[in-house]
Symmetry: C2
Subunit: 386 residues, 2 copies
């Protein structure tokens, strides 16, 4: 099988939202399509990928380095020996002449190519990606994944009222787990938001909160103390993602579970978190973003390291409400997938069509990831598919 | 003062060399020029920067995110209050809406803009950058910096003979400290190369070796043992730059000084090395690359952290034989600057014109960094200066 062309384009995500770290008004993402000479049902097979959120599109890097390396490689160099493409071999080609360390930006560009190759591989096998991954990794999978509904950004007017309406709607849609932002307002106001949602939650439901890496030690401990009565599922990224010592201090002092990892983008960095961060394998959550961390090829290495450090895959809840990540959760035996409460946003539309029952989403059953099934993405991929 | 335009272009470095980690055949670098409405001697003042080596050019990221943020900012937002541009304010503008962590690629793009702003600032002040930095940081400086001559890549034919000729030439040029590659051949051959150079060195001269982050624990310890008789200045990056635990093990076992840091690109990562790497402040060397690590604004923060961790600035030898880094060494009171032995390469030409006497280079005395004085760079910057 031969790669004929790799096309990409940059899409404005155009969200006016803001977390306690950055604004998303100028946020972009890349869409990518890998065209091959393989044909199924009379049509050429194309692998598709769409960026995760929060780190901008990767168009420049894709065009400068990563697409040319794969597009110019011989088909033998990436062959899986049975007519397909081996994502691991392709990964090594794409990472040729890249120095060790410095895991930012390029990991997202490589992750996009990786995602498109896995989409392609699943399409060629005629199975959804979650099923392919379950075979590859020897995990049981039935196409149902535990999910949590993520949102709770701040509004200027009627903030708590609208927040409660969001949560009630998500409950009606079948959700049982929720996550909202903290740190964008004063502690008392954040506590009021949490208390308002807490009053809405029925048995078996839970709430997590997300600080987006902006708190210091004292602020984190004040929040932990103030939020303790609500028995939250976790407090996410209270402190800077690379301050392992501070994670260790917080973990030692917090009865509340911690969640972190979405801003570490490699096996090297993930391992340092496990070694130095003092996190608790029976309680804390790891949120490495599959697509932003060099893709599934690297994520499988991270899972190997988890085993070495005696962490269960069940503690993994990959960042970003992406359909691709949901396949990863479903196929690799991970703990929890994220979906956006805001289904009207472009990014939210990636998972808006998933049916959720009693806190579990039903993954698509068509071959590949199924990006083509999300209406706005049909338009986004249209000219990449030519 | 107002920024009128920021221009950049990508330059092929076109070197056929190879270290034990990557080939440099496709290596690129960015050149950048910041045009302003300030005028000196009847001519507009332009700030210039050129990339460090090893991480490719940053054109895509510069165009997608970092140049527009500064070019579109109001002149008040970056004003230093006395008619110039404050690099710290400009840095904050350029890093707006960037999430924490993920320090790769973008740190080089931001570092380029930072370098051009410091060049501009020094030109406006009418002093060379090293003198400006000495004032800013309260360090003594006389325009002379201790340097080492770096090279020793492998050749297919007459390797040791040509290597010794390189070293002899560098000795004649005034050099007293040298660094060569290791790990590209078998240990015995590397020892033969070191022994051949060792025989050439006079009193007060020293040799360091560079493994480019590719060795494992056992290979490193074998090298340390085999090279111990030669009293080397240091062994550089024997192991993976992000494996802090392994650094700690090697440091505990090696009488030889270690040098590392060129593949850590931020204050966050530098601090983790200091905290977790077990390096020895009285012996080991820190080689963070100023330009690839978000520039001087961030490097000043790294120097603050060094103080907190009781490391002397004298232990710093910034990566890459760049004229910009040599100014940093001279102005910030750092230990050692690197210059390339291969003066014929484009990158080597950045420092080829520096006069070296008894192991010290004389920094330029004209305002700014002086990139314009390096002949190939006159051509490179020509159309960026229009």
């Amino acid at each position: 099988m031969r790669i004929l062309a790799i096309r990409e384009k940059t899409v404005a995500l155009g969200s006016a939202s803001r977390n306690s770290s950055i604004g998303f008004g100028g946020m972009t993402a890349s869409a990518l399509a890998i065209h091959t000479d393989a044909v199924r049902d009379g049509r050429p097979v194309v692998g598709l990928a769409f960026d995760s959120i929060g780190r901008y599109g990767h168009g420049g890097l894709l065009r400068e380095r990563f697409i040319p390396r794969l597009a110019e490689a011989s088909s033998e160099s990436y062959s899986d020996g049975s007519g397909g493409i081996d994502p691991h071999k392709a990964w090594a080609l794409v990472m040729a002449d890249e120095k060790p360390g410095g895991h930012g930006e390029r990991c997202g560009a490589v992750g996009l190519i990786d995602a498109a190759l896995w989409d392609l591989k699943a399409k060629l096998a005629g199975v959804p990606l979650w099923k392919l991954l379950a075979e590859v990794s020897g995990q049981a999978a039935d196409g149902h994944v535990p999910v949590y509904a993520s949102g709770g950004h701040y509004r200027d007017v009627d903030d708590i009222k609208l927040l409660c309406a969001d949560i009630s709607r998500a409950v009606d849609e079948g959700h049982r787990r929720f996550k909202i932002k903290i740190g964008g307002v004063a502690l008392a106001e954040d506590v009021a938001r949490v208390a308002a949602i807490h009053a809405l939650l029925g048995p078996g439901m839970s709430l997590a909160v997300d600080g987006n890496g902006t708190f210091d030690r004292e602020k984190t401990l004040r929040y932990v103390e103030a939020l303790a009565p609500f028995a939250l599922a976790w407090i996410e990224e209270p402190v800077h993602p690379l301050d392992y010592d501070l994670h260790r201090e917080i973990a030692a002092a917090s009865p509340l579970p911690l969640a972190t990892g979405e801003n570490l983008f490699s096996r090297d960095d993930a391992r340092n978190l496990l070694r130095h961060g003092g996190l608790r394998p029976e309680r804390d959550m790891l949120q490495f973003d599959i697509s932003l961390s060099y893709g599934l090829v690297e994520y499988l290495r991270i899972l190997d390291d988890l085993e070495t450090h005696r962490w269960s895959r069940q503690r993994c809840a990959p960042h970003a409400g992406h359909l691709f990540a949901a396949h990863g959760v479903g196929g690799l035996g991970l703990g929890l997938a994220e979906v956006a409460m805001d289904q009207a946003s472009l990014f939210g539309s990636l998972t808006a069509h998933l049916v959720v029952r009693d806190g579990k989403a039903v993954l698509p059953d068509r071959p590949g990831v199924g990006l083509e099934t999300c209406p706005p993405f049909q338009m986004i991929f249209e000219n990449l598919l030519q």
